[in-house]
Symmetry: C2
Subunit: 349 residues, 2 copies
């Protein structure tokens, strides 16, 4: 019944004969799985573009289509739960193509024994998040697995929206000279999850920044069409997102560490735990690569939006060292900001 | 952090404070979860139609959009694996709106420790199934959960296709007088899974009937536009699908048991195990409700297609007892074919 003869696994997957947590971390191991296993199997030119969402044309309409599975632990955390995370995560992936999300689906994998009252609270959060983002949950599916083969609930959401005609935003479209803007404080979602999971307290309590970014994106596009790349730096954080863009666009990226908006509580928690905020997951933040002459006006427009109040210019795209991200450190040196191999914090989304 | 005050759980969910396997069975418990928990939370008129796929309009184009999560155990079974099942399942849900599926997404929830070579075989099956159905896998996501919180791999697929202008097919559109056709042998997928799961042998080996039905649907629509309902009788089998249609269309349904195409091996296995083939899951079969005067020509067109060779007229929609399905038994009596409460065979898809 099992016939693996036809399949030759290219290096370096052979180094790991079995799945490890890092394969889900959004870092190098995840990328290897996609490049060496899924892409050859699926043979799709659109998939190969590796955007947060796929842009496809149907009946003369350009649609941004995206999916995400959510396995965050714990299910409820400060400021949110797996339900609003699952809605906002897919809303944001669609928005990163410049599209307004319209319709969504939700698939639930429930573990036998899960309290129904918890599921109800999660579903209500999903409904509220969808209404807040202006998107309709129109189809779904529910499966149940035996106790000990799940973790309460896993949620997969998919959705699509219309990409305005003539708009082209994608991870491969950054150009040397582009300015890199982040929409606000980084590292908040990851540290909020970690604080509750590990029972840590870091002075001021951290709550997730989980939010739907399609409103912010609409405000940005109303300001300028010179946005080349949008990306929400979730798993793997800002560092991984910048590396993906640098690789896809064949540009170098240079950021200035002291310009990164890192809240004191995140910085303190990261220092205690030996984590780098650049690699910590966000859920309500975006990175934008924009033409230099539109950067200042875009920054102002972003700061006028509630979800962009702390927006900041953090760097630029350059022609040097294509595919590589470097940071000027606070003491004046330069370091390479590499993609992590596995992940610092598993099951963050 | 948890605030359930705002949520009042309507009966009968209170009977089960926790999720049980039957909530995923496609029977009454599943329906209660949808009606009493998800619908009030999501507040979507499209969701309330409860088709296999949701039909929505975007930019003047009508799209059928569907999602499904797959948790079948074991991952590999006679004639298929979770990968082609996950592709064909969503292809078929889209096809049941009369649409040709175009684009799909795939989300993977991997369990730590899963052999990568198994995942590769599953991904290759998905790619092959997608190409066979003429659909492109364009976007995806991979998460990893700790050992003991999954079962190898769970796969969620979503997808959409274009519904031809003027075509209206849906579970609520059956009319009294419609003829009910099934496209072939029933109960095969469920018994194939059960035989390998329980180590049973029933003489001739059973292999799954898992297949993409969009080609058959295209052939049917080329023959007649008088098809009112299409449904693939997966979880809960033919009995549950007919009950859903009877309820949504407010018609009665009368079937003739001896006209049901049940293969000898399925019948024998069901007899040994005390199962009713009407409730066993299928994955490559469909039910069609068609206007009476188009039924014979449609049946012929279906039989001319490789996936419809054993198509048969099994009953009719009637004005009597709306919402209820009855069967004339082989000994001449009549019995009510109710929806099951939970499920006979968990984790069949």
């Amino acid at each position: 019944m099992l016939d693996f003869d036809g399949w030759v696994c290219p290096a370096p997957l052979r180094d790991y004969p079995n799945i490890v947590m890092g394969h889900g971390g959004g870092g190098k191991l995840s990328a290897e799985l996609v490049e060496n296993l899924f892409l050859p199997a699926f043979q799709s030119a659109t998939l190969e573009q590796l955007g947060d969402s796929a842009v496809v044309e149907v009946g003369g309409v350009r649609l941004a289509f995206s999916t995400d599975s959510f396995v965050v632990r714990p299910l409820f955390f400060p400021g949110g739960n797996i339900g609003d995370l699952a809605v906002n995560g897919t809303v944001n992936d669609i928005a990163m193509s410049g599209a307004q999300p319209r319709y969504m689906s939700a698939g639930f994998i429930l573990e036998e024994g899960m309290p129904i009252i918890q599921l109800a609270a999660i579903a209500q959060s999903m409904g509220a998040a969808a209404r807040a983002a202006g998107v309709s949950l129109v189809t779904g599916d529910t499966k149940v697995v035996d106790r000990g083969h799940g973790d309460g609930v896993y949620i997969s959401t998919s959705g699509f929206g219309v990409v305005p005609m003539g708009l082209h935003i994608g991870p491969g479209l950054a150009r040397p000279g582009d300015v890199v803007i982040v929409s606000g404080d980084i590292g908040v979602h990851g540290m909020a999850i970690l604080s509750v999971r590990e029972g840590l307290e870091f002075g001021a309590p951290l709550t997730t920044d989980c939010a739907a970014l399609n409103g912010l994106v609409a405000a940005m596009l109303a300001c300028t069409q010179a946005i080349h790349v949008l990306r929400d730096p979730t798993r793997g954080g800002v560092a991984s997102a910048l590396n993906e863009i640098a690789a896809a666009s064949r540009v170098g990226v240079r950021i200035v560490e002291r310009n990164l908006p890192v809240p004191t509580a995140v910085r303190a928690a990261c220092e205690i735990l030996g984590l780098d905020p650049l690699y910590v997951a966000n859920e309500g933040k975006l990175l934008a690569f924009v033409a230099r002459d539109a950067a200042e006006v875009l920054l102002e427009a972003m700061r006028a939006h509630p979800l962009g109040r702390n927006a900041a210019i953090i760097g630029e795209a350059i022609a040097d060292h294509p595919g590589m991200v470097v940071a000027r450190t606070s003491i004046g040196g330069t370091r390479v900001v590499d993609t992590q191999v596995g992940e610092q914090l598993p099951r963050i989304c």
